[in-house]
């Protein structure tokens, strides 16, 4: 089984090994998400040095934490799925392009709004899945972080069990956020607009995770009174994070690149394009390249076009045939399908259904 996985991985990624260049470092690790499958007893084995785009410090951090790579991949997969869900009715629908090392094609080589969203959803996905794995106790490395809560006599040498015994450990989600920060956004190249934008949006994704945590409490004083109360943080389902980041995408701030000279050489800085709007906060997404309209196939821009996409005839929104097909019109096909209906559901995994035949029309863009 393992051999089969390896073979398929080699096929998908074989071409990258030669092409690891300097095009853009950020984002190529997303391929982990397309490679990830969790099924039965398959072991996801993907060494750090095979992840495209990883260099120096990032590679070192990855190798130090190689056991986490499957969970990172799970997070990336989660990010891709969520992106596709949130953009399901849009002209750009987060299509993954097989064999492309940046997963979504050339479109993400620009500093576009879409790239901003993808960056944030991936860093949120990694933080989310690492936190979950930690909260499940999957890894020894994250079960108790090194924040020192005991007597402050020796803050550098910490024995996990001693910290744990003295005052408990901090939340797993903090480990997840810190891991996502170190794994995705290494502290390098602060001088290029692309890097500044990526880092900002990565951080916005993590901030969405941190800000959406819910505090739950339990009272356990005498006779159940609230004299004693213990609280813990609970993560929201990833769908809610996706929706939140989608809102941020809709209200993303457009920036402009300002080149300044600096003792280190030429430095690029991002400034808000319009002074009429409030400057973006850390939780907002930023971009500086305008997006194409994604109507036509344009390999140079990485736009796939909307030809052949299904659309909703009755909708006036972007998923409606008018907007989706960019005014080119649409084809209608009648279809008959056998669907499941009148289902009886037993909580986990058993659904007993009847079969119903349904006719409906499918509209596709010309």
């Amino acid at each position: 089984m393992e051999l089969k996985v390896w073979m398929s991985l080699c096929l998908i990624f074989g071409s990258f090994a030669m092409r690891i260049g300097h095009v853009y470092a950020s984002g190529m690790w997303w391929t982990l998400g397309t490679a990830y499958t969790f099924a039965e007893d398959q072991i996801f084995d993907y060494p750090c040095r095979r992840i495209p785009g990883f260099q120096n410090r990032q590679l070192r951090y990855c190798e130090q934490n190689e056991e986490f790579v499957p969970t990172v991949a799970e997070g990336a997969k989660q990010g891709i799925d969520e992106c596709q869900f949130q953009f399901r009715g849009r002209r750009w629908n987060c299509t993954t392009i097989e064999g492309d090392e940046s997963v979504f094609g050339k479109i993400l080589q620009f500093g576009s709004r879409e790239k901003a969203f993808v960056n944030s959803i991936f860093s949120a996905g990694v933080a989310h899945s690492i936190s979950r794995a930690c909260s499940r106790g999957d890894y020894i490395g994250c079960s108790c972080d090194t924040r020192h809560q005991g007597p402050a006599d020796n803050p550098h040498h910490i024995i996990p069990n001693a910290t744990w015994r003295w005052g408990g450990c901090s939340e797993d989600v903090e480990f997840g956020l810190e891991f996502s920060r170190k794994f995705i956004s290494p502290k390098e190249h602060w001088t290029r607009a692309r890097v500044i934008m990526d880092r900002h949006n990565d951080e916005a994704g993590r901030k969405a995770v941190a800000d959406s945590l819910e505090l739950k409490c339990k009272c356990h004083g005498i006779s159940g009174s609230c004299e004693l109360k213990s609280c813990w943080w609970q993560m929201v389902p990833f769908r809610r994070l996706g929706a939140k980041l989608k809102d941020k995408y809709d209200s993303a701030a457009e920036m402009r690149v300002v080149r300044q000279s600096d003792p280190r050489g030429r430095v690029e800085v991002l400034e808000p394009k319009s002074l009429l709007y409030k400057p973006p906060t850390k939780a907002d997404l930023i971009y500086y390249d305008p997006s194409p309209d994604y109507c036509r196939l344009d390999p140079e821009l990485g736009s796939l076009g909307t030809v052949g996409r299904t659309c909703n005839r009755t909708s006036d929104a972007i998923d409606g045939c008018q907007l989706m097909c960019c005014g080119r019109g649409y084809n209608t096909i009648r279809r008959q399908v056998v669907e499941r209906c009148n289902c009886q559901f037993v909580w986990c995994c058993k659904v007993v259904c009847d079969e119903c035949v349904r006719n409906y029309e499918v509209h596709t863009c010309k």
Binding site: F38, F85, C134, S135, R136, G137, D138, I140, S143, C144, R147, Q149, G150, P151, P160, N161, W164, R165, W166, G167, G168, C169, S170, E171, D172, V173, E174, L177, A210, D211, L213, L215, K216, K218, H220, I222, S223, G224, E227, L228, S230, C231, W232, W233, Q234, V236, P237, R239, R240, A243, N342, C343, Q344, F345, V346, W347, C348, C349, K350, V351
Partner: protein, 551 residues
């Protein structure tokens, strides 16, 4: 009670004594706030979904390690693989590797949090008033590689209280459910615990309906483990260990002083002695035992001790105020206070019964809670409401008595100048003692409330991702309030112990042995007399007193 030490203490000595107590109080607060960690911590453990087609209640399903179970990541995968709901075992190992539980954790609570996803599909809705039936096994082991031993295995039902707070974009969102209480262990004696939870689909014997069919589509189960922090236990027990001998020694000193008076002890002295004894019992650091012996009833015991202390404290207040009523009735017998004391005893008896029902049954079945069943809920509420009514009537009576005392004081004040000197001094002593006590008690009570509110407010504004502040207000509140009531008892013992000096007593002023004796009417400054006549008479009394002293 004739002349107490309080009356015969010079202002200087009294202030010094109060200052010492204040320093101890601040020390107690700081130790809790700066040295100790938070009193308890909660760990959110996401359960691993194990597969068990054999439905075996003999086997243990561990999420990790060499004996890890066969897992499934999510239910989409389970559906694809044709796994039935009955096969899924939610497994949580406590604590996460590489940590181990420690005996200083004292108690362990388990709370179940269900992530129930919203679904548009038919039959996947969560029914209102749904209940979930759980088959839970709790096991323990003390070595890293040993087998788990069963602690308890139960079949429990819990009511789900969920709401769906969203109006749009429903798919993929979760219901917001109240955390379900799962179990309470009175001692954490073992290093590793394992919880295996199943949600079986079986025919209910009573109703014949299938269990767990209307609970929507649960996606994940979290087990939240709450336990006392080891650091807090250490600090707490250290404070107890230091307080215990001090309070005990002062109690012995007090009782010897009462005995050497040469006359039988009065009711108030006996009450103070009883209060001190109960405080000492509360102080006795019995919890050290848990480090070596498994004492599952420790929480029950400490609840009882605490209840006994409060009952005694309330009785003491009633008796103290009663003894200072200054009407002509001769009290000095417990019988006079039987109604009040009975109401206090009844209050705490109600709470005691409730506690024994709750924690007592938990000794046998940690998953039991009176709150979980409708009948138990009503019974528990009945006990608590009854206790509340008794407590309220007690408070009303206490306030009424305080009002009476103040009324009597102002009456006496008016007549003071016309009294014989000995009588006047007797009453002035009573008034002074009472006022000092009132101020001291009210301050202690107010500080308890203020500390409580402060700790709740300061801890309540915690935000995610923020570093935890270096001051632990809740711990500070606990140690501070604990220290405060100890100080209260010590102050009562010392200040209200019978004095050997006879000056201020009723001995007709014959012995003016204490040249430095001072009758300081300025201490209870809050109640400074406003009536010029009274004020004048008091200064007169003061002058008279100093005269006798200089003679």
């Amino acid at each position: 009670m004739a002349g107490a030490i309080l009356e015969n203490l010079s202002t200087k000595k009294l202030s010094f004594f109060c200052l010492c107590l204040l320093l101890v109080q601040i020390a107690c607060f700081l130790v809790g706030g700066l040295v100790a960690p938070a009193p308890s911590s909660a760990h959110n453990i996401l359960t691993t979904k194990c597969i068990d087609p054999s439905f075996s209640l003999q086997k243990w399903f561990q999420p990790h390690g060499p004996h890890a179970c066969d897992k499934v990541r999510d239910f989409d995968e389970a559906t694809k693989r044709g796994i039935f709901a009955d096969w899924i075992v939610f497994s949580a190992q406590v604590p996460h590797r590489p940590n181990t539980m420690h005996r200083s954790f004292q108690y362990m609570l388990g709370v179940l949090v269900m992530d129930i996803g919203y679904s548009d599909e038919d039959g996947k809705h969560l029914a209102p008033n749904a209940a979930v039936t759980l088959v839970v096994r709790l096991g323990y082991k003390d070595t890293d590689d040993g087998e788990f031993q069963e602690l308890v295995s139960v079949n429990e039902t819990r009511k789900l209280e969920c709401v769906f707070p969203f109006t749009e974009d429903k798919v993929g969102y979760h219901y917001s459910c109240e955390p379900l209480p799962l179990f309470e262990l009175g001692s954490v004696h073992h290093k590793h615990y394992l919880i295996n939870i199943r949600m079986p689909i079986t025919k209910d014997k009573a109703t014949g309906a299938l269990t767990n069919t209307n609970i929507g589509s649960p996606e994940d189960l979290h087990v939240v483990i709450i336990h006392q922090n080891g650091g807090f236990t250490t600090v707490w027990m250290s404070i107890k260990t230091i307080m215990f001998p001090i309070v005990l020694l002062i109690t012995i000193w007090f009782w010897r002083r009462v005995k050497t008076q040469g006359k039988p002890s009065v009711l108030l002295e006996r009450t103070i002695f009883a209060l001190a004894i109960i405080m000492s019992i509360l102080n006795f650091p019995m919890e050290w035992l848990t480090f070596w012996v498994e004492v599952p009833f420790m929480t029950l015991l400490s609840d009882i001790k605490q209840g006994a202390f409060y009952a005694m404290l309330f009785s003491f207040w009633i008796i103290f105020i009663g003894e200072h009523l200054m009407d002509q009735t001769q009290r000095n017998r417990l019988k006079v206070y039987r109604r009040q004391v009975a109401s206090i005893i009844f209050t705490f008896f109600c709470l005691f019964i409730f506690d024994v029902c709750e924690r007592g049954v938990q000794l046998v079945n940690p998953f039991f809670s009176m709150w979980n069943t409708d009948k138990g809920y009503r019974l528990a509420m009945a006990f608590i409401i009854l206790a509340g009514i008794c407590l309220c009537s007690y408070c009303l009576f206490l306030l009424f008595m305080v009002y009476q005392v103040f009324k009597n004081i102002s009456m006496r004040r008016a007549t003071l100048p016309h009294m014989a000197k000995a009588r006047r001094l007797h009453y002035e002593g009573l008034i002074y003692r009472f006022r000092f006590f009132m101020i001291f008690t009210v301050l202690t009570a107010i500080f308890t409330v203020i500390f409580f509110i402060m700790s709740q407010v300061l801890e309540g504004h915690q935000k995610a991702g923020e570093s935890i502040s270096s001051v632990q207000y809740t711990s500070g509140f606990y140690t501070g309030v604990y220290g405060m009531w100890n100080i209260y008892v010590v102050a009562v013992l010392v200040l209200y112990a019978p004095s050997h000096k006879k000056t201020a007593s009723t001995s007709n002023g014959e012995g003016s042995e204490g040249s430095h004796v001072e009758f300081d009417i300025d201490v209870p400054s809050e109640g400074r007399p406003t009536d010029p006549v009274v004020a004048g008479s008091l200064t007169e009394a003061y002058q008279l007193l100093s005269k006798t002293a200089t003679e």
